[in-house]
Symmetry: C2
Subunit: 437 residues, 2 copies
């Protein structure tokens, strides 16, 4: 089974745990069968592999997410990187071209496109296997998964089927309705559109070539920035006459807000938290290394990271986006392929950062034009290279890296470094990479 997982958006609705560099699908609030914390992308990846051990999964995502994806799923994961964001139709076409031209997938093979963010049980991926079989059988050009609605939601698009059978032709699509209209849809056996599409690879490529002029994957990649932003629903699904839908009755939760996340997170609290006995229906996630004490809290979600602290009534938490946008901080925590990066102090002219590197990982060989850095090793061993000179690093070692000086470090064990950045123009964009000879 070929699966394209769409790993999108930066998600401000799970602030402060999600930010511009850490999308919600990387937050580890779930648990796997061994009781280890896992993120949404890890959970989905595991669930697909459980449903089909031979599934070939390609993750369609932006460059900014590739470190986190490799970090969480391993170096071998197949990633189709979008050069820039262009909505779902271009993203799916790029992935389809990637499967065909780079991975050698045949045009007759079925492909299933899935978003990465629903919280579902394993039966969902069994339904997706059926979707793939339906696509292969070719009774319709496009096969969708429709979620049986639990209430007349205004948040989702609706699929109106011809019948209430498990598999039905699609009569029409409806955009997000108001509650009253949604009730009418429910009376017509309507289904929520889960954003899942199954088709034969050839079908989509033909469709794509009819709408976009391109030769192959590499050509499309090169001109990706010139493509029109358009969703797959709008570009393809709503215009296609031959569509069928598979009805899914299992659990399905969209964990795009703290209110929903609170319902499905593995434990009511994570991190260093103390709740008194009068707290009710309160979830706390604490990524800071200081304690959170909650007393008499009712229906609250409290979340703290290096980016900030949220204290919100659960119902209200869905409305946070405009407020988060006013806050506009640079991300203070970032998951990297080599470990993590946490800003621990910032003032005009300096920024102090803790680098926590995993054994065996290394930074790129790079330099900064406008800042010097002082590294103090607080634990572990490493090998630094500074302007071509190798130097072993152990706990307590200090190195000073002048502006314009190329440098890197390889972690020989887990390695923690306190990095003091000094300069009037400290910016993540002040970084020039070099090959390491």
């Amino acid at each position: 089974m070929n699966i394209i997982l769409l790993s999108g958006g930066s998600g401000k609705r799970l602030w402060p745990l999600s930010n511009d560099v850490r999308s919600k699908q990387f937050i580890k609030l779930f648990k796997d069968e061994n009781g280890e914390y896992e993120s949404m992308v890890q959970r989905v990846y595991r669930q697909i592999n459980t449903a089909d051990a031979n599934a070939k999964i390609t993750i369609a995502t932006s460059k900014s997410q590739t470190s986190a994806i490799k970090n969480q799923l391993g170096e071998k994961v197949s990633i189709c990187v979008e050069p820039c964001r262009r909505d779902t139709f271009p993203a799916i076409v790029l992935s389809a071209a990637y499967l065909h031209d780079e991975m050698g997938v045949h045009e007759d093979e079925a492909v299933v496109v899935c978003p990465v963010d629903p919280y579902v049980d394993n039966t969902y991926y069994e339904a997706i296997s059926i979707l793939k079989e339906l696509a292969e059988a070719g009774t319709a050009k496009l096969t969708l998964l429709g979620i049986e609605p639990t209430y007349p939601s205004e948040k989702y698009g609706y699929i109106i089927p011809e019948s209430d059978e498990n598999i039905s032709d699609v009569r029409e699509f409806k955009e997000k309705p108001d509650a009253k209209t949604a009730e009418k849809y429910l009376a017509q056996n309507a289904l929520w559109n889960a954003g899942i599409f199954a088709f034969k690879l050839g079908y989509l490529l033909k469709k794509a070539h009819s709408m976009i002029e391109f030769d192959d994957y590499r050509d499309l990649f090169a001109k990706y920035g010139t493509l029109t932003k358009i969703s797959f629903d709008y570009a393809v699904a709503e215009k296609e006459p031959s569509i069928q839908v598979l009805r899914y009755r299992g659990d399905w939760k969209d964990v795009g807000t703290w209110n929903m996340m609170a319902e499905v997170m593995a434990d009511a609290t994570k991190g260093w938290t103390v709740l008194d006995e009068t707290c009710e229906n309160t979830n706390v996630v604490n990524e800071l290394n200081i304690p959170i004490l909650c007393m008499g809290c009712k229906d609250l979600v409290v979340a703290a990271s290096g980016d900030g602290i949220l204290v919100s009534d659960k119902e209200r938490s869905g409305y946070m986006k405009p407020f988060v946008e006013t806050i506009e901080t640079e991300a203070r925590y970032a998951e990297k392929s080599w470990g993590s990066y946490t800003v621990i102090d910032a003032e005009p002219g300096s920024m102090t950062v803790k680098l926590s590197m995993k054994a065996g990982e290394h930074l790129s060989y790079h330099m900064h034009n406008y800042r010097e850095e002082v590294w103090t090793v607080v634990s572990g061993k490493g090998k630094a290279v500074v302007d071509g000179m190798e130097q072993m690093l152990r706990t307590g070692d200090v190195i000073m890296i002048a502006a314009g000086c190329k440098h890197t470090v390889e972690a020989l064990s887990d390695l923690d470094i306190i990095e003091v950045q000094l300069g009037d123009e400290i910016s993540i964009s002040d970084k020039i990479k070099f090959p390491l000879d």
Copy 2:
């Protein structure tokens, strides 16, 4: 007017802003006439000086508070340091001996003892001036201030007066009662005991010599650790037959809990906070350099410092003490005579601290046996001395201080240093001070 201000206790009830080294009276949540933030001790000191520009104030406190007091009130403030905590009777006797033997206050002069923590308006200190006059007139041995109760509280001791006159003899004292008993007291014109005592200095010294064997202030200081812990109320007030009380009808608030603090703090929020329009009756104090976003919060107090984060229903906040005791962190923020000290990272084997020094201040000349330190200057200028060698420090300079190496720094301007401490046994007790030649 001679005033002894009792600046006591470490106060866990305003956690995380109060801790073992920062008592609640040093938290700056009030404002002076110029709109500058001020602490309770600053406010009380200012109010006394407003009521009587010639007031001679001596602060009775422990060694751990002297830095914060000098920092907030200036170097010239008169402080009587208790070598250890021995409750209010020994503390008042030590201060009385200090006034007599070190400050030359005559035995016929009146002394007024005040706690440092009530939130009051200026009329309170006018009442204290009257108290002093009553003590000087000598119509009673001991003169108290009684607060006219606003409700039958179970939190205070009660004074039962002979009459409802403004000035009355005291019939008896009552310990903290239950609410029903408190109502009976109110029917007898009872007053809350504000913990204020006025007397002639000679009266108290005579009383003290009858109960404690000591020659003078220095002798008492030397044997202070051997004294029995006992409150002034119990040791003196409840046994004295000649007591009068002055009735005080003005504002008087005991800001010992967040619930009360929220009522009197100058602004509903302090620090980097964003509240949505659905928050009601919510106070937020944020000392961290990351934002706090509150949405849909009702009747909450949110307080964040380097020590931790509190999210509490206002009513419940009075019950935090046992929970704070379970948290048991070392204080991560300390106000020092020279500026402030903030732990920004801690892991086994290292601790990273930000030192923010005020221009003109200096650290003691000291060394550590079990840790080395790496200082990186992130802003300002200073003069370091390391094992007797002077060295100028500017932004970007780094010095390494080995274990056993004596060191200090003087801030030539406001000076910020990131200090990485390295060692297996990092402890504030690992510090040996030396005179600087």
